[in-house]
């Protein structure tokens, strides 16, 4: 199992860490994650590999590494020249590790509990965060390995929920942020979106199906209909903390 440790859109870099499990399974996970990272414009894809042997400092001051026996990198990723293995500067791979990036949003952390991997990423409540959601979401999903069709439905659904929240949510307090949580369970992915806004339930907005909107040739307003149709479950809760959107989708192995 691998986990997304951070995505740096300024440096076009994605960093993953081996979160546990046998050596073999992460090779496919990393190859898939590297492909997705390149799709979202992150061409420097790194994997922190416990037990890797440091060989030299490169121009970025990062440590290049030689994989330990049995942990050779995926050949396809190597040939593409877009990914590299990096020796971890700290202990990785321990169960329950949580790592947080720099102080400002997005703040990202992951947690491994046995075979279950969970993420929480906090974004600024701003239109610019839509792009960051579009970067983080597929990278997190890729570490769990859903099929392409399920991956896309989840990407679209989460993006549309976040876009809706940013567009219509009215923050009640500073800092104006929202948190995306994802939890990968056997056969399904569960998630939540938590904001600090006034009450707003997207499912109560006037809508109609995507086909009905298409028949009326409406150029806008597809977002809510899309995630309601693409997800298996969607619920809205409102508490003193704000709106909490709960969702889940079954996935094929």
């Amino acid at each position: 199992m691998i986990a997304l440790e951070r995505a740096d859109t300024t440096r076009h870099r994605a960093e993953f860490v081996v979160a546990g499990g046998d050596p073999q399974p992460w090779r496919d996970d990393f190859a898939r994650a590297a492909r997705v990272a390149r799709q979202v414009g992150l061409h420097d894809v790194r994997l922190h590999l416990p037990g890797a042997r440091q060989t030299r400092d490169d121009e970025d001051g990062e440590l290049s590494a030689v994989a330990p026996a049995g942990n050779a990198p995926p050949a396809a990723v190597d040939r593409a020249g877009a990914a590299r293995l990096t020796a971890a500067a700290r202990q990785t791979g321990a169960t329950g590790v949580a790592e947080e990036t720099e102080d400002g949003p997005p703040r990202h952390r992951w947690l491994q509990e046995g075979a279950i991997l969970a993420y929480e990423t906090t974004f600024e409540h701003a239109p610019s965060s839509r792009d960051l959601v579009a970067v983080y979401t597929p990278l997190m999903l890729a570490t769990f390995g859903p099929q392409e069709a399920d991956l896309m439905k989840l990407r679209v659904s989460i993006y549309e929920m976040c876009a809706n929240l940013v567009e219509h949510g009215r923050p009640r307090r500073a800092p104006a942020v929202f948190t995306l949580g994802l939890r990968f369970l056997p056969g399904r992915i569960e998630g939540f979106l938590q904001d600090g806004c006034e009450r707003f339930n997207p499912a109560e907005q006037p809508g109609g199906s995507v086909v009905q909107r298409a028949a009326r040739r409406q150029p806008r307003g597809y977002g809510i209909a899309m995630f309601l149709q693409l997800l298996d479950r969607f619920e809205h809760e409102y508490t003193a903390a704000g709106n909490r959107l709960l969702f889940s989708k079954g996935i094929e192995a």
């Binding site: 792009d131 069709a149 993006y159 307003g221």
Partner: protein, 118 residues
Amino acid sequence: MTQGQDSPARALPAFLIVERDPLPDGTMRMALRGHLDADGAAELQEHLENLLEKGVRRVELDFTQVPFISSSGVGSLISSIGEYRDDGGDIVLARLSSGLRGVLKMLDLLDYVTLSQG
């Protein structure tokens, strides 16, 4: 022709529209690159409207390098397809990934759009 502009504020790569040689029947071919989100959708819709004003009636959009489409992208496509059909033309979607095709199928839009047989 290539359209699209890098913006330092954007985390994602710029959306690009690359015009290719037209087909013998006059169909204008365009390859799309990048995320078809709100920014890309506005750019694509404007481009398609300009072509329609110039007399182009049939366009094929190559989605090979489109990894993601948002509701804005879906909305702009549907709106543009309607305009072309009103003028006796159409917009054909080509080489959609299995993921994008799956989204359109789940939204019951596969019967609404015209997919390339190639």
